[in-house]
Symmetry: C2
Subunit: 212 residues, 2 copies
DNA sequence: ACATTTACTAAACATTGTTTAGTATTTGAA
DNA sequence: TTCAAATACTAAACAATGTTTAGTAAATGT
């Protein structure tokens, strides 16, 4: 009987519909507006039905966080293919910030909501960290290793520093759009220029405003 | 009759007790654990009584955010008095990060909780921004203006970039203590060295691990 | 002395996440 | 076919939240 397969397929389909509904709610009204009842209404099931597919609300958020990270990773892939390591870092920073500014709720979910970053990056002892996240970060570490550094730090530390720098720009702009008066892209340009120059000692000054 | 004054004093006292209770709850159990009922229990009044002193829960959080910012400002004052602008920035960055790591819940409230940064920095059209925040930021801008810049950016932009950089380190570490494997202070040292070198073109390499 | 303001509470309301108990429906074998 | 067991689902309840309402008791000012 292939009927059990049909049922499994149906179940998976509903699971996806739940995630899709959750995504839509978050995009439209923000993460804090995500309620089980709203999801239930959107998929036209009772609230209790959702618990047959996800342990709790957190499970849904975690899954969305994982998928959001994968999406970010995909957005960075073209930049990661650039030959020159310095230019590669510029492009990665630029695309990272663009992703954050264009997908504020996704970014907030992954990197700013207490609890969900640990899901992606491990440390939450229970769950193993998503291999995607390691792959993404290794990208940075390997690129950092290609630079001729003028600073006493490991590639891992350089990568973490670069990440913190761009994350700082995005998270600040998302938390308070008006105060850092410069745009995220302006800050990115200054940050990247200064950091790369400080790290490598080389005097590149051109802006990376070529993409888009 | 001084009795009305006594009543006013008593009222102000209760207001302070409410704030104090809220502070304690946040410190002990985090911001999300802050409930009106818990505050009420701690000050030994009914939950409704709190609404006689604060419009809603948000008002309490906003007030704590303002006070937290003032506290941060005080923590930075010694660093702001340093003569040499480069060393001053190093010290400010160091103390900023120390404050964030030692007061994670306060930092989260001020800079990471959606809604409250706008309170401190204006932009929330209704409320005028706290003069303290402008003063604090002007400190950075003025110091940036003292640097001999090798980069095409205004002091305001430099200041915003520096702020984003240290904020990135703190917020990343607070959101996921385990992943950025380096300590906040290690990242700060690398970040500051690279940024300052990139901005000024000068080759300072010493670490700022002198304080504490 | 007495109307009014002030300080307060008990109880209710609406909204959350989540659980429980129960009901159809489907499945898989006797 | 028949029927126990698993499956998919819901209605209703529960507990916790922020906030409001209606009412009470005491202090205040005239």
């Amino acid at each position: 009987m292939g009927s059990s397969e049909r049922r499994a397929r149906h179940k998976e389909e509903l699971r996806q519909r739940i995630l899709e509904a959750a995504r839509e709610i978050i995009m439209r009204e923000g993460f804090e507006a995500l309620t089980m009842r709203k999801i239930a209404e959107r998929v036209e099931y009772s609230p209790a039905a959702i618990y047959l597919h996800f342990r709790d609300r957190d499970e849904i958020a975690k899954q969305l966080s994982r998928e959001g990270f994968a999406e970010l990773f995909r957005a960075l892939e073209p930049a990661a293919a650039v030959e020159d390591p310095v230019e590669r870092l510029r492009r990665i920073a630029w695309e990272y910030i663009r992703f954050g500014m264009e997908n504020p709720e996704t970014y907030r979910l992954i990197f700013m909501e207490y609890k969900y970053l640990a899901v992606v990056f491990g440390g939450d002892s229970k769950e193993r960290d998503d291999p995607t996240s390691r792959a993404a970060f290794d990208l940075l570490v390997r690129t950092a290793a290609e630079l001729s550094l003028q600073v006493d730090a490991t590639p891992q530390q350089i990568a973490e520093t670069l990440w913190a720098a761009v994350h700082g720009i995005v998270s600040l702009k998302l938390t308070c759009p008006v105060f850092p008066m410069s745009t995220a892209q302006e800050l990115e340009s200054i940050m990247t220029s200064a950091l790369l120059r400080g790290l490598t000692g080389s005097g590149q000054t051109r802006t990376s405003a070529d993409s888009d």
